[in-house]
Amino acid sequence: METKPSEIVIELDNVEKCFGQQKVLNGVSLQVRAGTTTVIVGASGQGKSVILKHMLGLMRPDSGRVVVFGQDLAQSNTKQLRDIRSNFGVLFQNVALFDSMSVYDNVALPLRERTHKSEADIRVDVEEKLALMGLEDHGAKFPAQLSGGMQKRVGLARALVLNPRVVFFDEPTTGLDVSKSNEIYRLFFETQARLNYTAVIVSHDVPKIFKLSDVVALMADGKLQGCMSPEAFQLSDNPLIRSFVLETMGPIYSSETEETLLYETL
């Protein structure tokens, strides 16, 4: 499963998903290429997290295919699915830390369960990741003793501790103030440059999230609209994208000149 620079690591092909009578995904198609950052934006309740859960194999599509590293997730057995997921790191929206474990144990868990490393080696890896997140003094604390921003950083440390090939971020800055959000974005930049992972981000933190992305797609009407560079996304003629951009970015976007101004303000 060696990754080439432009290899497609994740492909959604005409994915449909219904919950009862409600069709949440109505023919979603997307390609995520290795080493890139793909951002899925959209209003709440449009199914952004549902797409992420399909990529993670936590949900199965009613029709269509989700192919990860060349393997159709729906055709994969439990072991194959686990092998695929061993290349994943996930930062959940509500972090999903194990609240009965300390910060150290939370970050050490994937190493203890998935590798045969000694406790001494695990300590080295965990301390390195905690230091990277600026949490070196908080290993003994429990998640409930940390602020929301610190919990996100612990979640990120846990997601990165096995140096995954693909990292998924589900609303990474939800519930954080501006400075904490910027801190998470800074850590994202730093860790991606260092570990060179492919990132898939679900977010509604527009326009800030555009700065992180190579590809932006809008989830609307059960489909992904766009799948283009952030610059092209903001200039798109697609009425759904145009309407979303105007709603989220306001009158600052109206011409190419003003778009440049917007980037300068970020």
Binding site: K53, L56, G57, L58, R82, D83, R85, S86, F88, V90, F92, Q93, N94, A96, L97, F98, D99, L109, P110, E113, R114, R158, F168
Partner: protein, 261 residues
Amino acid sequence: MNLIATLGAETLRVLELLGRFGLFLLTCLYCAVTPPYKIAPIVRQIRFIGAHSLFVISFTGLFTGMVLSLQGYYTLAKFGSVGFLGAAVSLSLIRELGPVIGALMVIGRAGSAICAEVGIMRNSEQIDALECMAIDPYRFLIAPKLIAGLIAMPLLTCVFDVVGIFGGFLVGVELFDVSAGAYFQGMYSSVGWHDIEMGLVKSVVFGLLLVWICAAKGFFLHLERDGGFGAEGVSRTTTSAVVIASVSVLVWDYLISAVLL
């Protein structure tokens, strides 16, 4: 027509539920008997299910034995057979009341906690997080509880029986002046290995039932028909798990008794 459709849908729902729970049990048992074996989580769970239940089991056992002795004494006295008090108390406890009341107590104390713990982990995406980290939640989370239930329940039942027999002794011998020798001789001559075996078989089955039902209810919280989300969902599911596990214990108690008697 509507009635038939509803009946059909309900039947399918129950079959799906049974299938889901059955697969859950088989997966957990498979994880419990295949490597890698990790002792520490099992010991932690034995401590939680077993050691932490010792007080409530001892307390319940003591009073169950005492009330058995009290009731038994007045009943046997009518037939002039108070000498059989030891046999009556010990047989009732070892064959029936020890495993059943012990299991009901452990369901209330540990079963509800297991269901709530797993349910909250499901609600807060911790189980999803395990799966995304390629960690098998059945092996990591449920299998140690299942093994611990199978080990702890027979031990707790033994404690219940011994304390219950002592409680019966306190009331029968100390309060009603039944001869201590007659009390223990009656027990010695009437209780056989077969009775102890029946009690132990029941306790193992009940240990399996309580962990299986309570853990599965929490694990599949998100699939509950009336919605398992939020604190209310966890509370409702936990209540339902305790009720189902308790009723299952009573049903299986009858079935095992019918087979082994």
